[in-house]
Amino acid sequence: MKRIDAVIKPFKLDEVKDSLTALGVTGMTVFETQGFGRQKGHAELYRGTEYTVEFQPKILISVLVVEDLVEPVVKAISDAARTGNVGDGKIFVSSIDDVIRIRTGERGHDAI
């Protein structure tokens, strides 16, 4: 089982969600967060005083998939979330030791 975390721009959430459900991914967890990458922050002014804006609002989508679905899901997320501008985000793929469904107690692939 693999965990796919995608940090994307907040307004891309609906598109990414739709493309994932089209692939048959049945659930996801969404975090509101902030982040930055290689792009530098920029300066803004508040009542004449400068302050640096580094962190940008982001959404982190976390889904669990079987190994066969990893590449299709990565491609779907990338295509849906891409704008071509700086700040589009990143996708992390990691291994999961176990998954448990709380209501029924199922484990492993049955719980995804």
């Binding site: 002014l45 508040y46 009542r47 004449g48 005083t49 400068e50 302050y51």
Partner: protein, 569 residues
């Protein structure tokens, strides 16, 4: 037995204070009962009669007998008086009707004054929203409570002695004829005649102040005092202790505001400089650019200097850091509410709808407001490339503050110019305070109310065009500067004396408000710090001061209140 005597020893200051208060409370009514002078009218059944009936031009229905036999117009006035007496004898019913008319005029003015006073009261909500929006989220509850407690405690101080200090002698030189004259408020505590410094009747709003006309004046004037009271919040928020704040409000309501208010509006010495020293119409401030906003703004400045800047506001190199507003929606709504309330603040200061200048005042007020906002936005855009929302709002408030003194005396064109000047002054003032003086003023209170308040009073001395205010402060009732009916006049219309009087009075106000507040609260601060501790300031003052966060769901443990099964150990 020794412990009994020790308890009595500690009690005596309280007993003396209680005795003094009691004596004060009963001397009022007792003195009135034995007095020959005017009687208070708490039921309002003897206020307003034919002597308060006037025509549009301000001519009294009742023609009074001329007393000065050597005056040039004595013969003419004696003839008019004799004619009136003859007519009165022939038409007694007309005289009775005149009593009704006079009463009706007073009634109109009562409702005007009270209703505009309620509008000014509503400005409390506007300022609460404005200041709450301008600070950080962790202090939102603190700001709201400061605004709330300001109204509560300053009002009580004004009830105890503030009104008496400010208006206790108003019948002598500044009787509010639109409200029936409040004849029972006729004694100075300090000073006399044209050189009064503090009023001395009406403590605890009892005795001579327990009168329909007097309390009408009280309601209107207390909400003005409250305005000065909440202005200081803008500069001291996010780091003041609550007990020290209550002390500030009691100080403002009991003495700081009323004393200067007596000098300008209660018939005190500043207003009488025209009669006593020939300084134009004396110091003139129609609705309080300096009496209210200037005093509030410069007192705020003194407190901000004593408190010092917020933690982290200035870096080690002295460069200021931005603490952005947490809710700009509040800021804008608050500004609109203040604008709406100002429709009571300025036009209401005629104390009567019988004075038709109220429409000119209302329009001038709005013109200055919008001109101030536009000029502030434009200047900011030229300086920094984007018009700042909070400065657009501060610009409108600056325009409003600056027009508050001259609103009754200037033309609409002048009102626009005054607004433009105020908008620029507030922009530059905010930058000056933050970057040069390094006085941390979270809401810009010092610039909006202090600097623009001073500007407003000076603008009276520049732009007043003489079309209103004949006889103001007892000067020039029959003619002024050679013209009949000439009112308060400024430099551009030929009265340089008024200009210098305005500059002098406004500057005195700044020195007074800053100086007295700085002295008093430096003393308080030396005894016990008026600033919260570092840990409290960094956490946010909502919980340490009041136990209640304004946004509890920001805390993880309060995300779902009511669902906790039991507290963890």
């Amino acid at each position: 037995m020794s412990h009994v005597s020790r308890r009595h020893t500690r009690d005596w200051p309280l007993k003396v204070a209680a005795a003094i208060l009691f004596a004060q409370m009963i001397t009022g009514p007792v003195a009135l009962a034995f007095a020959d002078g005017p009687q208070a009218d708490p039921a309002g059944i003897s206020t307003g009669d034919k002597t308060t009936a006037f025509d549009a031009g301000g001519n009294a229905f009742v023609v009074s007998e001329p007393t000065d036999k050597n005056a040039p117009d004595y013969a003419k006035r004696k003839k008019a008086f004799d004619e009136f007496q003859a007519q009165a004898a022939k038409e007694p019913l007309a005289m009775k009707l005149a009593d009704d008319v006079g009463h009706l005029r007073i009634s109109t003015n009562f409702s005007w004054t009270l209703l505009t006073g309620y509008l000014v009261l509503f400005m409390q909500a506007g300022f609460a929203l404005l200041t709450c929006g301008l600070v950080r989220k962790k202090n939102a509850g603190h700001l709201m409570m400061l605004n709330f407690a300001a109204y509560v405690f300053a009002f009580l101080a004004y009830y105890v002695c503030g009104f008496a200090f400010q208006y206790g002698a108003t019948a002598i030189n500044a009787a509010p004829t639109n409200l029936g004259g409040t004849p029972t408020l006729d004694r100075f505590l300090i000073g006399s005649g044209l050189w009064g410094f503090l009023g001395g009747k009406g403590f605890f709003l009892s005795g001579p102040a327990y009168d329909a006309g007097s309390l009408c004046l009280t309601l209107f004037e207390v909400v003005f005092m409250e305005t000065a009271g909440y202005i200081i919040i803008g500069a001291i928020c996010e780091r003041i202790t609550f007990w020290a704040f209550i002390l500030c409000e009691l100080f403002m309501g009991a003495i700081l505001y009323p004393m200067f208010g007596c000098w300008v509006w209660g018939g005190g010495w500043l207003s009488q400089l025209g009669q006593s020293m020939g300084f134009g119409h004396g110091y003139v401030d129609f609705a309080g650019s300096t009496v209210v906003h200037g005093v509030g703004g410069f007192a705020a400045m003194a407190l901000a200097v004593i408190l010092g800047p917020r933690l982290g506001k200035y870096g080690p190199d002295g460069k200021p850091r931005a603490f952005p507003a947490h809710n700009l929606a509040f800021v804008v709504i608050g500004t609109f509410i203040l604008l709406f309330g100002w429709m009571g603040f300025n036009p209401g200061s005629t104390l009567g709808a019988s004075d038709l200048r109220i429409s000119v005042i209302a329009v001038n007020t709005n013109l200055s407001a919008v001109a101030g906002s536009a000029s502030a936005m434009l200047l900011w855009y030229f300086l920094f490339g984007k018009p700042d929302i909070s400065m657009a709002c501060n610009g409108m408030l600056a325009g409003l503050v600056a027009i508050t003194a001259p609103c009754a005396f200037v033309s609409p064109n002048s009102a626009v110019i005054i607004g433009i000047l105020a908008g620029m002054l507030v922009d530059l003032g905010v930058l000056f305070n933050e970057r040069v003086l390094k006085v941390d003023d979270p809401c810009g209170a010092v610039s909006v109310h202090g600097y623009c308040g001073w500007l407003g009073a000076v603008c009276v001395g520049i732009f007043a065009d003489g079309t209103y205010g004949a006889g103001w402060n007892g000067v020039g009732a029959t003619s002024y500067l050679g013209a009949v009916g000439q009112g308060v006049t400024g430099l551009l219309y030929g009265d340089y004396r008024q200009f210098f009087t305005q500059i002098g009075g406004a500057t005195l106000m700044a020195i007074y408000a800053f100086g007295v507040t700085y002295a008093a609260f430096s003393l308080v601060n030396a005894m016990r710090s008026i600033r919260v501790s570092k840990e409290v300031e960094l956490e946010g003052l909502d919980v340490p001061q009041f136990g209640l966060p304004a946004y509890p769901e920001d805390r993880v443990e309060l995300l779902a209140p009511g669902s906790q099964v039991q507290a963890r150990a």
